[in-house]
Symmetry: C2
Subunit: 353 residues, 2 copies
């Protein structure tokens, strides 16, 4: 297999090094070879090539079976206009170019870590295990946009468009995922206001007929934002369009209180994918050796599962991570008193593989 | 003064009766007369007139100085299509008809009630006091929308449009409000993706120059959804477009844990306004005498302040409410052991006026 490794900025390089050690360990154990090519992305790429997504990087991604992405951005590039920010200027074109329509964001609150959640103990101790399935290449992100008029009359517009086809394929993904979990899909929309949400609801309802074992309900996005805080354990799979998924998947991640543990996958129809931690580049702790590598390591596991067909290797990593965390191994974000560094955590996981 | 009273469904009539007692008490005390006309709205109006917002109701609102709105909707009308739901079919046309562009949603966590918040004690005990200022008559709610194409190619679209003028007037409102509070505005956008957000940011930045004493920062909506859960005390005034304000104002309300205390105001440029509780019609507790009337009572106070120019009467109500709550008076949603009914709470507030 060949993997394009884009470590990026901030803690990206540190946690990526940890993930690569883990990948070495599983490829040894399971006897496969991973060719990893490192390329510039994000702020580092702006500095070196004047572009957050240089052509050489894009070419390398095209020639790979998957992209393992670190994280990008930081104060150094904050003066750039919002549209040129490293994160935006690398992720959106990659999603579009490779048609990565399906974003998976698991957000799990482990009982062992329930004290880290910003939610009250009686809510967090129940734990929760939510999979956000976010549509990633449509909606208001990629619709027509622009400006017109002048002076006080100047207007700007964005268009949210969804087709049946686009909704159907992401909905199928959500229902398939629910079958392997708790058989429950909650579809998020604003069907009392948006025409695109009315179509979204129609198509999701149709798709649900092919999955009689999966229960489906609908929730308005404003209510979803409330219910996630009030009683997150009511959700299993949360199916969202691009914009609502952006907002709610981040809220889901935050209520776990352990962003450093959460991976994500962005997939296209042919099994190609981009895998990255849910958190950001955390420039405040970069270079200090305390960044949590687990989100990056679990992103590598998702890559093995979804793009490289190595499900057993993926499960081996996930098991090793769970065992390490249960044994009290973790960087200060999850175990403030533990004194573990990024490298300690990587070593503890490697030793369990 | 003349007020159109639209009590609506569920707990609406009960909490409205309580608010009217309080209005009687302050109008006696301050020597003004309030003519109140009661009209049908929401599900009750659908049942009686076949329409969530009957023409007679709309006429009565036109002839009034303000609308005091209860809450609408319930299981009885849930079979209706999302577009015909009582809440949507009454509120959106009222907002549009009267140009109620400015929605104010205060969300305050009182130290006395910090245990009710779904947030962890170390977060909630700091308290917070956020004012959501939401643009209410523009954006994706009122832009062009529709469907085209057929079969798998069928698409639906919505358009988000904002003009400089629209952004400027809501931004001014937010900065003026901040001057009376903690001099801090956080403007919410998704300027790394949306053209309308780029304009939003530009105009907000320009308006801020007229308010040198107010500090301004910007936050992406996904990050805002996270920060509200992580550290809500960082916010003072949260300035949002229509859609982001819908989502975040509900999240703000929920993190207080005391939705039954939160009023809201929807204003136009000439001082006319619609005043309603932040929470819904709560059909599960309707008719049981335990609904919290405070949100409705404080909505009446906002009406006195913003539409009727009776600021002292408004402050008298707010003070009476605060004193009653501090004295331990409250329905079971805030004081589960207190045994107070809706009428008890109203009486306790009236007695403090
Ligand atoms: C960087 C930004 C464009 C992106 C998004 O909004 O999709 C990010 O917030 C994310 O969720 O991956
Ligand atoms: C009923 C609905 C259209 C409305 C909105 O989304 O604006 C409601 O959620 C609100 O926030 O007042």
């Amino acid at each position: 297999y060949s993997v394009a490794v884009l470590a990026g900025d901030g803690i990206g390089p540190e946690v990526m090094a940890a993930a690569e050690q883990v990948l070495d360990a599983v490829s040894d154990k399971f006897g496969f070879t991973l060719n990893r090519e490192h390329h510039a992305i994000g702020g580092a790429a702006i500095d070196e090539f004047g572009k957050a997504l240089p052509d050489t990087t894009l070419k390398a991604c095209e020639n790979a079976d998957a992209i393992l992405f670190g994280s990008v951005g930081g104060p150094k590039w904050e003066h750039l206009p919002p549209n040129d920010q490293p994160e935006r200027a690398s992720l959106l074109p990659l999603r579009k170019h490779f048609g990565l329509f399906c974003n998976l964001r698991p957000a799990q609150l482990l009982p062992a870590l329930s004290a880290a959640s910003p939610l009250r103990a009686d809510i967090s101790e129940k734990g929760f295990d939510i999979l956000c399935v976010r549509e990633l290449t449509g909606g208001i992100y990629f619709g027509e946009k622009g400006r017109s008029g002048e002076g006080a009359e100047e207007t700007a517009f964005d268009t949210q468009t969804y087709s049946r086809k686009e909704i159907e394929r992401i909905a199928r993904f959500a229902f398939e995922a629910a079958k392997l979990r708790s058989n429950h899909v909650t579809s998020v929309d604003k069907a009392n206001v948006l025409a695109s949400s009315v179509l979204w609801r129609e198509v999701v309802t149709e798709v649900s007929k092919d999955f009689p074992e999966v229960s489906l309900d609908y929730i308005y996005v404003d209510n979803a934002a409330m219910q996630l805080v009030k009683q997150p354990s009511q959700f299993d799979v949360l199916l969202c369009d691009n914009l609502f998924g952006d907002i709610l998947s981040d809220e889901c991640a935050m209520i776990t209180g352990s962003m450093g543990l959460l991976p994500s996958a962005s997939l296209n129809q042919s099994g190609f994918g981009l895998y990255e931690p849910a958190g950001g580049s955390a420039p405040d702790i970069a270079g200090k050796g305390v960044a949590n590598p687990i989100a990056q390591i679990l992103s590598a596991a998702l890559m093995l599962r979804y793009s490289l067909g190595q499900d057993e290797a993926a499960r081996t990593i996930e098991k090793a991570v769970a065992e390490a965390v249960e044994a009290g191994v973790g960087t200060p974000d999850i175990y403030p008193q533990g004194g573990y560094t990024t490298t300690d955590v990587a070593a503890a996981i490697v030793s369990r593989i």
